[in-house]
């Protein structure tokens, strides 16, 4: 009897170990677009750190503002110095949850649609955002893709009138991250 209890306890423990699978990426790709008739701006960050916990649906992102790369050097300077104030606020982070976790099977290959809600912090301001995306299970790795828009003014980013027509009121943010088991 005792051994049976012990065996079943061990079984439960090992099951929990398997299901408590965490996935990590250190070279996630996040980029944003600003489209206006006057000018298109685009910047890429390929050093995004992100963790997904498949058992709880927790999803976290961390990035450095200064790792965003622009095609034009002066835009990058303005982004860091005037808009994001990267010296004062060097990091942006997101911490949220996959709200439809039950429909995603991390052990079966396929593309699943995912809904995520969480807190996005940057420029010293935190806002709740909700977005849709996909999670692709491919071998041992998973690929998360999402697209959403954010308004600079929601994060206290002031765009001077002089360049108001060159910078979109809403930025399109894209996320494309390949995770591997931790």
């Amino acid at each position: 009897m005792k051994t049976k209890v012990l065996v079943s306890m061990l079984l439960i423990a090992s099951l929990q170990l398997v299901s408590a699978q965490k996935y990590l990426s250190k070279n996630g790709h996040v980029w944003f677009y600003s489209h206006t008739p006057m000018e298109n701006v685009e910047a890429h960050n390929n050093q995004v750190v992100s963790v997904i916990d498949a058992s709880t649906g927790d999803i976290k992102f961390n990035l450095l503002q200064k790792a965003f790369e622009f095609k034009v050097a002066l835009m990058q300077e303005h982004f860091n110095e005037n808009y994001m104030e990267s010296e004062k606020f060097p990091k942006a982070s997101f911490s949220g949850k996959i709200t439809n976790l039950s429909t995603i099977n991390f052990k079966k290959a396929g593309v699943y649609s995912a809904e995520v809600t969480g807190e996005l912090s940057m420029h010293g301001i935190t806002k709740t955002i909700t977005t849709k995306g996909t999670i692709e299970v491919k071998g041992t790795s998973i690929i998360a893709v999402s697209k959403f828009t954010i308004a600079p003014k929601d994060f206290g980013i002031v765009i001077p009138q002089l360049v108001e027509n060159k910078i979109a009121k809403e930025m399109e943010v894209n996320v494309d991250i390949t995770y591997n088991p931790m």
Partner: protein, 140 residues
């Protein structure tokens, strides 16, 4: 119009075009893809850099943030994603390392081997889980 006036307008015109050109060039100057030709501001081993960041992020930022640093370390992994290559410098005994970001045109991945000691020059961009260098070039 006298000859003097003509010369004045000519010089002014040339000056206006020239300054316009210079402003235009400065405004739309493309970002560097690497900082190989720029002056190195600090030389440090990957191990020392990561230990310094792990113990005190703020004081280490004072020393290295936004500076062009040359970091020597052992290649742990080479990752590729969407046209960017990351070379991860880490010693087996360490839990964290230095993530070096390369523009695809700036590195020949076949020339870098896992386990090799390399020296990477780039801009120290800060500390997340690892120290991050951007716009890197490599010295084999």
């Amino acid at each position: 119009m006298t000859n003097n006036m003509k010369r004045f307008w000519l010089i002014l015109g040339v000056f206006a075009i020239l300054s316009g050109y210079l402003v235009w060039k400065r405004t739309f100057r493309p970002s560097d893809t690497n900082v190989a030709s720029k002056k190195t501001e600090a030389v440090v081993s990957a191990n020392t850099l990561i230990k310094a960041y792990a113990s005190n992020e703020d004081s280490t930022n004072m020393l290295y943030l936004n500076k062009i640093v040359e970091v020597t370390g052992k290649v742990d992994t080479i990752l590729e994603k969407d046209g960017q290559i990351s070379v991860y410098l880490k010693e087996k005994s360490d839990t964290e390392g230095v993530m070096c970001a390369f523009n695809k045109t700036e590195i020949d991945t076949s020339s870098v081997k896992v386990g090799q000691i390399v020296s990477v020059k780039g801009i120290c961009t800060g500390y997340l889980m690892d120290v991050i260098l951007t716009k890197c070039s490599v010295n084999l």
